[in-house]
């Protein structure tokens, strides 16, 4: 375990976290209100009905670089308001990286030390980002994937009541961040009824929160999940009974749920650069699925996909190099990508 001294507040003046939260002061006011851009140039006109639009919500524009800033702020704000999180209290969270980085960034500003539990096979950039915001990093066994991180964090939290665990997989403040934030922005920015929304499946928070709000506005909208197809090396669960369905995720609210392999996700990530978008691997998977949806879409349909993060955290994995798809599938087998 890497241990870093607990962060203080902002340099110079004493910080009143409650006032910061109330005012949305400082960098926290820059969370959300991300751009929605047209990337229809990535659709193949030969196989797409006329007027079909593909729009990308650039959550990479959030201060710490991912959609999880919204989730972390929502969970911390609600916990501070309810008193579940006390001033200066340490936050513990299982994460594949982005949520930990967001919690660490916000915790740094508001004076909460953060301890992140991550699978040991994440890219080194994530560890670096967590540490630069002063977070401690605890590694769970790589072969157990996210399930292993959740289990380890639950054990650590049970053993130490001084820790506060937001637990994004179970916390309603996660989907609510998207119900109250991401989705209203989409409705305002899309300029037309939204026919389909595509996002990578992690906790399910984005798909559930955005989906719930969009359905209120557009009852026929299709909510579509792009799900990572796991390789054998990270399916080291001892039994199916040890599987974990995040309580946040109600799979019956998904209209479609489509597996995307690593090579296809990377191909999508590379293709996004043709639209000038430098994105993480889950956005490539979302593009792969969004293009399938576009082929089946009616003329004039509007499809929205979510770019959960930018590509910086994946540079060391070399996914923009010249390896072909077969080689990538092999090389990425043991990694943890979103």
């Amino acid at each position: 375990m890497t241990s870093v001294p607990a962060p203080g507040g902002l340099a110079g003046a004493p910080v009143d976290p409650a006032a910061l939260l109330a005012q949305g002061a400082g960098v926290l006011s820059a969370i959300g209100h991300t751009p929605l851009v047209d990337i229809s140039l990535l659709l193949d006109p030969a196989t797409t009905a006329p007027g079909v639009r593909l729009l990308a919500k650039l959550e990479s524009a959030n201060p710490s670089g991912s959609v999880k800033d919204r989730v972390a702020l929502s969970m911390i704000t609600r916990a501070r308001e309810s008193g579940a999180l006390q001033p200066g209290q340490m936050i513990l969270e299982p994460t594949s990286g982005n949520t930990g980085i967001s919690l660490a960034m916000i915790g740094r500003v508001l004076g909460h030390p953060v301890r992140a539990v991550m699978p040991a096979n994440v890219t080194p950039e994530r560890i670096g980002l967590l540490q630069l915001f002063g977070a401690e990093v605890v590694f769970s066994p790589a072969e157990l994937g996210s399930n292993g991180s959740v289990r380890m964090a639950q054990e650590l939290a049970a053993a130490d009541p001084s820790l506060f665990m937001p637990l994004q997989y179970e916390n309603p403040a996660n989907p609510d961040a998207h119900y109250h934030g991401t989705a209203p922005e989409l409705i305002e920015q899309a300029g037309a009824p939204i026919d389909a929304f595509v996002s990578g499946l992690g906790t399910g928070g984005t798909l559930m929160g955005v989906g719930r709000r969009l359905r209120e506005q557009f009852p026929d909208v299709k909510i579509v999940a792009a799900e990572p197809r796991p390789g054998d090396s990270i399916m080291g669960l001892r039994s199916l009974e040890e599987g974990y369905v995040p309580p946040v995720l109600d799979a019956s609210k998904l209209d479609r749920r489509i597996l995307v392999g690593n090579a296809a996700s990377v191909a999508g990530t590379r293709e996004l650069t043709r639209a000038g978008i430098f994105a993480g691997v889950s956005a490539g998977a979302a593009l792969n699925v969004a293009k399938r949806i576009a082929k089946q879409a009616a003329p004039g349909a509007t499809i929205v996909m979510l770019v959960a993060d930018s590509g910086w955290k994946y540079l060391s994995a070399g996914i923009w190099d010249d390896r072909d798809e077969a080689q990538l599938e092999t090389d990425m087998e043991a990694g943890h990508w979103w």
Binding site: S146, L201, P228, D232, M235, P246, A251, V260
Partner: protein, 92 residues
């Protein structure tokens, strides 16, 4: 024939076979054909209610059958069927 991709946790029940071919026009029929060869699989995949167990996800040609027609999902002649344990979040 459809092809089942067996996850590591279930391979002890399929003589360590990674891929198993099975006949059937629907997912239910293909499962029956699979269970005929590997009977111990049934209780691990199908619950007492006759439905897929909660922590088992099944995908036909990469689509979750729970968003299709469940066990009644029709299979194309060379359908690929993936059985996966439910995972939290991005597991890759």
């Amino acid at each position: 024939m459809a092809t089942f991709r067996i996850p590591p946790v279930l391979r002890p029940l399929t003589d360590e076979q990674v891929e198993v071919e099975a006949a059937g026009d629907t997912l239910a029929a293909a499962f029956e054909s699979l269970f005929a060869s590997y009977p111990d699989l049934r209780s691990r995949v199908i619950g007492d209610d006759g439905e897929l167990r909660r922590f088992v996800n099944v995908y036909v040609d990469d689509e979750d059958v729970r968003t299709l027609d469940g066990l009644a999902t029709a299979l194309e002649p060379k359908a690929s069927i993936i059985v996966l344990p439910a995972m939290a979040g991005g597991s890759r």
